[in-house]
């Protein structure tokens, strides 16, 4: 078993769609929180297979897309310092800040390097002791333990020239904001499979207990998503609300305790600033005292005032309030070669996905 092709079987998919059609009677809106789900849903044409009364909304689950402009501007300002090397995941390169992007800065000769893993930043720091190496720590709970490991190792090895621009986010508090919003009605959530691999089911219990909505943690192959949708429909039709796991091969109720302990060693909960959603309590992390020296926000660097394109609808798109098709910039001015907002940059951004598949 390779755990991929088996979950793309056409015959089973057709059977599941028949099952969904038979079970579903109510008009509902389901939100897929995660950008990786959005890509799969479009790639496999899942929206078109569902009955017309089931609407799928794309949510804020793209860490690149929700990174606020001022953090991009800070990274750009840091890259302009002569003694700084910026290390980043590739997705961040094209994200527009207020007046520039890391890609443009690299073209201007700044030392900006793309990493596959947080651990690459340690190698670069060790190889350049005369420079300050800054890793752009973005990501949800899937990525946070990997960043925590890099920080723990840097401390153990006594690496003094490695710093982190921490812009990580926690997913569950953002779901509270979406559920409390009056602007979009969500009848159920398809929850992110890999965030949940780390955090398990406990942090989501409020969805069913406080808000009375069903939620299913689903995998990313087409059969996973179809089964997840069916499980949500079944709960709704039976007037139940619970947090269930479809993606049982990697998600357990307790999550990954080793990974959670790494996060807990280095970070504590703090408010998070989300593009589009604003400041959300407990949706971010700050360094614990012992690791604060690695926080790049201690640097004294001048950052330009933050501004965004007035017509960009990324904020509304991230909340499922609008679709990219309602944005005046979409395809006309804003496209993957000239992204105006971050939702067009990331391969998991909703605008980018609409551009490729719609």
């Amino acid at each position: 078993m390779k755990f991929i092709d088996e979950f793309r079987d056409k015959e089973i998919a057709e059977g599941l769609i028949r099952r969904i059609r038979k079970t579903s009677t109510r008009a509902i809106q389901l939100m897929e929180v995660c950008g990786t789900h959005t890509v799969s849903i479009f790639r496999y044409g899942i929206r078109g297979m569902l009955p017309e009364h089931i609407t799928l909304l794309s949510g804020p689950g793209c860490p690149v897309c929700v990174t606020p402009n001022n953090d991009i501007d800070l990274a750009i300002a840091l890259s302009r310092q002569k003694d700084v090397i910026i290390v980043t995941f590739g997705d961040m390169m094209k994200v527009p800040g207020s007046t520039s992007s890391l890609q443009k800065e690299k073209a201007e000769g700044r030392d900006i390097r793309i990493a596959y893993s947080s651990l690459d930043s340690l190698k670069i720091a060790k190889g350049h002791p005369e420079k300050k190496v800054v890793f752009l720590a973005i990501g949800f709970e899937t990525t946070s333990p990997t960043i925590a490991v890099a920080i723990l190792r840097a401390k153990e090895e006594g690496i003094q020239n490695l710093f982190f621009l921490n812009s990580q986010k926690r997913v569950p508090p953002a779901l509270v904001t979406l559920l409390e919003s009056k602007q979009v009605g969500i009848d159920g959530f398809i929850l992110p499979g890999h965030v949940s691999t780390i955090i398990g089911t406990k942090p989501y219990q409020f969805i069913s207990k406080k808000f009375g909505r069903p939620a299913v943690i689903a995998g990313f192959e087409p059969l996973d998503i179809l089964q997840g949708i069916w499980m949500l429909i079944k709960q709704i039709e039976e007037n139940r609300a619970a947090v269930e796991i479809q993606y049982r091969r990697v998600v357990h109720e307790e999550g990954n305790p080793t990974a959670l302990s790494k996060i807990d060693e280095v970070f504590e909960e703090d408010e998070g600033n989300w593009r589009g959603l604003g400041i959300i309590p407990n949706s971010g992390y700050r360094f614990k005292e012992f690791y604060k020296e690695m926080d790049v926000r201690n640097f004294d660097v001048e950052v330009e005032p933050s501004r965004e394109h007035p017509e960009c609808l990324c904020g509304e798109v991230l909340q499922g309030i609008k679709t990219p098709l309602e944005c005046r910039l979409f395809k006309r001015v804003c496209h993957p070669e000239n992204p105006i907002g971050p939702c067009m940059v990331s391969i998991e951004g909703t605008c980018h996905t609409y551009f490729r598949f719609h």
Partner: protein, 72 residues
Amino acid sequence: MCLGIPGKVVEIEKNVAKVEVGGILRDISLDLCPEVSVGEYVLIHTGFAIQKVDEEEAKETLELLRKMAGVI
């Protein structure tokens, strides 16, 4: 960004595993998933194994899906 891909562990040395993904061997950190053995599958995210892939659970899910879809 939260992309995770399954790969098969073929060798382990301390806390780094050689993991096969699509015929290519990659060095993957086991810091977050220490209790894994050669021959098992792990879910890989940005160079780290973040969870073991449970083959029994995968088989059960597929079995259930076949039944639901009326393929059996």
